[in-house]
């Protein structure tokens, strides 16, 4: 076991992927010489050369579109989108090409493209640097969408994503790049938990709390805080947002009867809506209360000094838990 930051774990995962398969190429803005604005690709260009770790012109459609061509040629491109809010110029290539080419070619063409996206807020950044665009991609057939939350998963999941023959949108919780954790650098991918499977990171009896990315830690903290009040929260780290590992959530909700889903993205049409709807479909008779969503507001990401009012934090998650439990909460007495 080695202690690594989440960012460094990704770096090591990428290094391993580059070493293991010479069809793997990294593409992005500032990922080579600079090593990425978050240094996730630090040292990789020096180690593998400029044809494996490629600084590209400044164009997201260009990066994703040439990655499609490279995939056509048999490469496994790993694309870095510098910040969440800059993925939209590449949206057409992602939605109309990356997601659909396998289908369009009746299985002949594979798109083993990994699109890495540092996502989420909480770092006091300027506009477009704190977004959570994951729901756009979970609604897009043909894509897989995952989010890592800790160094150990980061190290394994990035390699799984690259090894996957399906395109993967890979979300990295940017405000946790610097958080350290234990990583087993020698564990084999074969033994690892598949990236499509969720992890129950805290067991509990009273309510199931589902989240992903940076909020996993907040959810764990909430579980700890709630335990002091005698409320037992089961925390599930989703890891895969498309497909969702419903088996894990369902088993939990059948025991707890209550579900809270938390994410930074807006509520309207967010991942929480899908999970709430799906779990209601699957577990209606087991639910003792409506699933609760604790999310960012349906507003553009606000200026940095307001972000603590936008992002779900421990208090807001506990308020959501209270709602799920029918305990006094912010909406007590509110109709509808």
């Amino acid at each position: 076991m080695t202690t690594l930051t989440l960012g460094k774990a990704l770096n090591q995962g990428l290094r391993r992927a580059l070493a293991d398969d010479d069809r793997v190429v990294l593409l992005g803005e500032d990922i080579g010489t600079l090593g990425g604005v978050f240094r996730v690709t630090d040292g990789l260009k020096a180690e593998f050369g400029e044809h494996r770790v490629v600084d590209t012109p400044l164009s997201e459609a260009g990066i994703v579109g040439t990655a499609v061509g490279l995939a056509y040629r048999g490469f496994r491109p790993v694309v870095e989108i510098q910040f969440d809010g800059f993925i939209y110029p590449g949206f057409d290539q992602i939605v109309a090409q990356v997601a659909k080419l396998h289908y369009r070619s009746r299985g002949a063409v594979r798109m083993p493209i990994t699109i890495r996206v540092p996502f989420g807020g909480g770092i006091g950044a300027a506009e477009h640097h704190s977004e959570s665009p994951e729901a756009y991609f979970t609604h897009t057939a043909g894509l897989r969408v995952v989010a890592c939350s800790n160094p150990a998963d980061a190290f394994v999941m990035i390699r799984q994503a690259i090894a996957s023959d399906d395109p993967v949108i890979f979300f990295e919780p940017k405000r946790r790049y610097h958080v350290k954790g234990e990583v087993d650098e020698h564990a084999s991918l074969a033994d690892a938990r598949p990236m499509g499977v969720a992890t129950t990171v805290a067991s509990g009896r009273d309510v199931t709390l589902v989240t992903y990315g940076a909020l996993v830690q907040t959810a764990r903290d909430a579980a700890t805080a709630a335990a002091e009040e005698g409320v037992s929260i089961e925390v599930v780290d989703l890891r895969s947002l498309a497909p969702v590992d419903y088996a894990t959530i369902e088993a939990s909700v059948r025991r707890t009867g209550r579900l809270v889903v938390a994410h930074e993205a807006g509520q309207q049409g967010g991942v929480g809506a899908e999970i709430a709807a799906s779990i209601t479909e699957r577990c209606f008779d087991f639910l003792e209360a409506a699933p609760v969503r604790v999310t960012g507001h349906d507003i553009p990401y606000p200026p940095a000094k307001l972000e603590q009012h936008h992002l779900p934090d421990l208090d807001r998650i506990l308020d959501g838990v209270d709602r799920a439990l029918g305990r006094p909460n912010s909406l007590s007495g509110v109709e509808g």
Partner: protein, 392 residues
């Protein structure tokens, strides 16, 4: 730059640096620069080019007719663009890769795409017709311009692998306004990628004349991006062949991308769903009939002393054969199985979609069950088969 420029296709007939090896009446223009690139093109090769153009024009008109008969959902005719497509695709090597739009049936033909493979997508029977790796040609692209980036990426990869294969990106005049095409030029130049951008300027993007996209010959776009731009008479199959070979050869030698504007004309509608009478006059079309690429090569061959009637007969026979194959191919296209809608969304198992597929299979089975039940009950398979009624 008055509004009327925006409404014009006059740009097409501007003489600026148009490369031409065959004049309008088939006369051969010498070119120190480009003659070497077609020095090997003898009578036989010219006859082949002529035959290919006749064949693809026939395939095109047959397909248009099939659409009118309801056998195809849609067809985007290539009529008028035979020389641009046959000339350029003839220049390709087997290991080169063509990334086209939706109108490059002649390119497909030369890449060995079978009639059934060509038609199935337009019949609505399949998402696409052929395996790109069998023909080294991508399946058709409908998002305007997107394939220019794919070609560039492929070319970057081919170069990094150390091969001398090249990619060709086919797109239209309208496509030059899309970001993707311009970004492809940026990437191709930056990486000196072996890719040839082959723009068929056929004067129109549906109803919009090229003057609305640009007041400048499109080939001039290239220089600013750092690559040569060549404007070629797109109805002169020999010139198209020559400039494409030149560009491919450069690319193979590591000198990077080039941009070819083949000036041609879309003689037919944009697609069979389009009515060009709403936006262009017959005069415009008539002028371009004079520049017919097939007539021109035929005149040239006649001038070289070949027997034009024999030529016609040979080409017609080939076209008849191809047309027969096309119709046979059409008939051989199977209707897709309902559950195949779920195939190839993912290359790997997907818990969500697999479950959704099972549910739908179960839904469909309800109808079979209902039919069976009704048949049992009535002693006939033809009875009412409402599965919901049946299931109750």
């Amino acid at each position: 730059m008055t509004p009327s420029d925006r409404e014009a296709t006059g740009l097409l007939t501007r003489p600026d640096d148009l490369v031409q090896l065959l004049g309008p009446t088939g006369e051969r223009h010498a070119s120190a620069e480009y003659d070497p690139w077609v020095a090997d093109v003898d009578d036989d090769a010219l006859v082949d080019l002529h035959r290919d153009m006749v064949v693809v024009r026939r395939l095109d008109s047959e397909a248009t007719a099939l659409q009118r008969q309801g056998e195809l959902g849609l067809w985007p005719p290539l009529a008028g663009q035979e020389a641009a497509q046959i000339g350029s695709a003839t220049a390709l090597r087997a290991d080169d890769f063509a990334f086209t739009s939706y109108r490059e049936h002649a390119v497909a033909w030369l890449r060995g795409v079978r009639p059934d493979e060509l038609l199935s997508v337009w019949r609505g029977s399949a998402a696409s017709g052929w395996n790109p790796f069998e023909k080294n040609m991508a399946v058709p692209q409908i998002i305007i311009g997107a394939q220019a980036l794919h070609a560039t990426g492929w070319a970057m990869g081919a170069k990094w692998e150390g091969t001398d294969a090249a990619a060709v990106a086919y797109f239209g005049d309208g496509a030059t306004s899309e970001g993707d095409v311009n970004e492809a030029l940026v990437f191709a130049a930056s990486f000196a990628a072996p890719v040839v951008f082959f723009c068929q300027n056929n004067g129109w993007a549906i109803s919009e004349p090229v003057g609305l996209q640009s007041h400048q010959p499109l080939a001039r776009r290239a220089d600013g991006f750092g690559m040569p731009g060549i404007r070629v008479d797109g109805n002169d199959v020999l010139a198209v062949l020559a400039v494409t070979r030149w560009a491919l050869d450069r690319a193979r030698r590591g000198e990077g991308p080039a941009f070819i504007e083949a000036v041609t004309y879309r003689m037919g509608p944009h697609t069979t769903a389009d009515d060009p009478k709403r936006y262009r006059t017959d005069d415009d079309l008539a002028a371009w009939r004079e520049r017919d690429p097939i007539t021109r090569l035929r005149a040239h061959l006649a001038a070289r002393g070949l027997d034009a009637d024999a030529l016609d007969a040979d080409a017609k026979a080939a076209a008849d054969r191809a047309a027969a194959e096309l119709r046979a191919g059409l008939v051989s296209i199977p209707d897709p199985e309902p559950m195949s809608a779920f195939d190839h969304v993912y290359a790997e198992p997907n818990s969500h979609l697999d479950r959704q597929r099972d549910h739908y299979a179960r839904y469909l089975a309800m109808f079979d069950d209902a039919e069976a039940a009704a048949a049992d009950a009535a002693g006939t398979g033809a009875a009412a088969s409402d599965p919901r009624g049946g299931a109750r």
